[in-house]
Amino acid sequence: MWQKSLNHQSLSEEEEKNALRKAPSLRFRFILAGVLVIGIIAGLAINLIFDYSQKLADLSYDRLLRSALLQMDENVGLMRNEVSIDIPWSAFATLAQAEEDRVFYKVESIEQGFITGYQDLDSVPPKPPQLDQIQFYNQKYSGEMVRFAWIERHLTDPETAQTVRIVLGQTRLSREEMASAVTQKAVEVVVFIALVAITLIIIGSHLVLRPLHRIERALEERIMGDLTPIDINTPKETHHLKVAINHFMARLQKNLEQLENYTADAAHQLRTPLASLKALAENARDNTSADYGSPEKQREALNNIVKQCDTLSQTVTLLLNQAVVSHRLQTHRLEPIDLLEAIQASCREQAVTALHQGVRLSLDCELQDPLILGDSFSIQQMMQNLIENAVRYSGLGVEHATEVIVQLNEFDGFYRVKVIDYGSGIPDIEKERVFERFYRGRYDIAGSGVGLAMVKDIVDHHSARIQILDTEPKGTTFQVDFAKFTFGVNEA
């Protein structure tokens, strides 16, 4: 069997490589997800930086503009009822800090009109003007985008009152330069951080997956048939995987043990009838005395041999059924089945055999669709064994019992199956042992000693409960309780 699996491996090495190439890589997914997330974050950050650097540049240079505007504003006065302005040199020295930026301005009063500056500069602030409130805004002038500062205020003296408006603008060259310098630096930092993060993810993915490789190596390095639990230290995150593997190996171990048991069973089962068959055949061959040499005796000896062959055949069938049942139990999922149907099928099958042995088999049930979660074939096997057993025990004892009753009743939450015989019964001391493999209560009855063990296996697998009770006045009752299947409950 191991050899076979090795062959399988070597045969498909090429295929395996192909499959490996096509298989999704955990590490690749991990890195890809990381890179995507970092990329998105970096993108957002850069977007924010673009916005922020613009604001920062405007903030800094707006201060210059404000200062220049206020210096101009301070030098506005009324002279002989006329607004006059003497722009201080320092105002424009302030603006000259933005070295390459052109400057435009206009001073006007609502009453007097244009006073000085650029007469065609008609700049309107975006918000409704408020006295003494400086407004900053961008507007195109002289073929370039210009940042304007705008202020309006009252000038009063005893004889006149005027509203003066000063607009001072500066092109955006220095601002753009500063913004792009800030952006460039920040983008460099963001890109650097993103690259470092990606590198860490790549290294991290390697580190994270290392325990998996360790488990993999630990398994690879094992000798054949070593199914002991993995005993290496792994991080918490891989603990469950380790436990699962160990669990899986334990199941494998159990299966292997079962297989060994089964093989032993089979050998045991077949040895006795074969030995007895051999003895019968030898008898028939060796007994040449007149007594036994008669054709009648020979015929009787041959009959015995045939009978023994039947028993052997039965045993082989039973073993085969057991093998099928145990395979089914391991591979098939339980599903909702009609318990009655399975019981009826078994009864039908067994009725004739029972009659041959002088036993009448009856089924007592009035239920409709008793559903349980189970495997129909296994249930049938279970019933067959129980009925066979009952029929067999009916033939024992002083009086030959003539009846075996199968009952199916409904209780709160479960169905109870009873197989009742009126045979000799089982002493209490043996009741505990009948489910042991190869335990045979009475060696004078034919039987494999496997049947009830299989029944127990099936019952256990269905999470059911089996009990052996005494029948009144005599005999044995096997009682099995199956939980009811209700939709939505057992499934969960």
């Binding site: 722009i87 040199w89 052109r102 006073i115």
Partner: protein
């Protein structure tokens, strides 16, 4: 009404210029081969004497270029450049009125030019890569040694003192720019007012009470100082004054000790100008080692490149006091502010007792 005043003053200045017979009408002086394939038009407010050797050298180096050189007053240059904004005649405009040239650039009349030579120019000698300085010269006083009464002044204070002490000799014998007619004259006066407001006020008062003579151009003042008609010329361009003082024993150039203004000569290429390629080549030539050295060694101009100045050279500016370099930046716009300019000229006229209609 205000608008009318603005254009009115422009018209007035234009009228004054026409009256002096020098507006737009000047015929260009030609340099280079007549058969040259390309023509470079230069409008310049610079005496040809200072520029001729440089132009001659340029056409020698570039035989396929012919230079048409037109000498124009600084103020006229400004208005002409604006007037021709849609179809400029000049490929290059050269002026000593830094403020007007800067205003032209600020108002969008110039185009950008960049070369390895302009890149080498320090940032304070250019603006926006549209305005380039190629010469930095002192603003000086020029005296007629023989005619000057008393000791020669070494600063503005001593000049004031001399005027007060020699009222008769000084009356009508001081010459300076008419700031209404000369762009550079206005610039220098406004810078004087900025540098030392009180001194400027006293000087103006003294000039007014002694019938100062006003001129349009430096060389006319120098001529009159040399002939003895004037004893002193105030605020003259150092390059012209030094040329004349070197050849003429009667003249002495004085760099005022209290402060010496330093003026740049600047050039720009008008937006949409013809043959901008050769304008760039010529600009590069002006900034080249060769031209800068020529200015230095032949005493044409004071070069802008400080690395070419050597202490032994007689034409290196050795100002006895602090120098006030007129900065080539947005501050120049303040001097040309409409309201300020109007007020400044009116004050000047009042001080000098010159009527507006003159």
């Amino acid at each position: 009404m205000r608008r009318f005043l603005v254009w009115g003053s422009v018209a007035l200045i234009a009228f004054l210029s026409v009256a002096t017979g020098k507006l737009w009408a000047t015929e260009p002086v030609w340099f280079g081969n007549v058969s040259a394939s390309r023509v470079l038009y230069i409008n310049s407010a610079m005496d040809l004497a200072s520029f001729e050797p440089i132009l001659t050298e340029f056409v020698a180096l570039h035989p396929d270029v012919r230079v048409a050189y037109r000498d124009v007053n600084t103020l006229e240059l400004y208005y002409q450049t604006i007037k021709e904004q849609n179809k400029p005649q000049a490929s290059l405009v050269v002026s000593s009125a830094m403020d007007l040239h800067l205003k032209l650039v600020n108002d969008g009349y110039a185009q950008t030019y960049q070369s390895s030579l302009t890149d080498r120019l320090p940032a304070n000698f250019k603006w926006r890569n549209q305005l380039f300085a190629f010469s930095l010269e002192p603003i000086v006083m020029l005296v007629n040694k023989k005619a000057f009464p008393g000791a020669l002044p070494d600063d503005r204070q001593s000049l004031l003192q001399t005027i007060r002490q020699n009222e008769k000799e000084m009356t009508k014998r001081i010459g300076t720019y008419d700031i209404r007619k000369s762009g550079v004259g206005y610039l220098l006066a406004s810078q004087d007012a900025r540098q030392a407001d009180v001194t400027w006020g006293r000087l103006l008062e003294a000039f007014g009470s002694h019938d100062v003579q006003t001129y349009c151009c430096t060389h006319e003042i120098i001529d009159d100082v040399a002939s003895g008609k004037l004893v002193l010329g105030y605020n003259l361009l150092g390059s012209y004054a030094s040329q004349r003082a070197r050849d003429d024993d009667r003249l002495k150039m004085i760099l005022p000790k209290d402060y010496t203004l330093m003026l740049m000569r600047v050039a720009l290429i008008p937006k949409g100008a013809p043959n901008t390629e050769d304008a760039g080549v010529f600009l590069d030539f002006l900034l080249s080692d060769k031209a800068q050295k020529m200015m230095q060694t032949q005493g044409l101009l004071f070069p802008i490149r400080p690395d070419l100045n050597s202490q032994n050279d007689p034409y290196v500016v050795n100002a006895p006091g602090p120098t006030g370099v007129i900065e080539l930046d947005q501050q120049l716009l303040v001097g040309r502010d409409y309201a300020k300019q109007k007020r400044f000229i009116r004050n000047w006229e009042m001080a000098l007792e010159i009527s507006e209609e003159e």
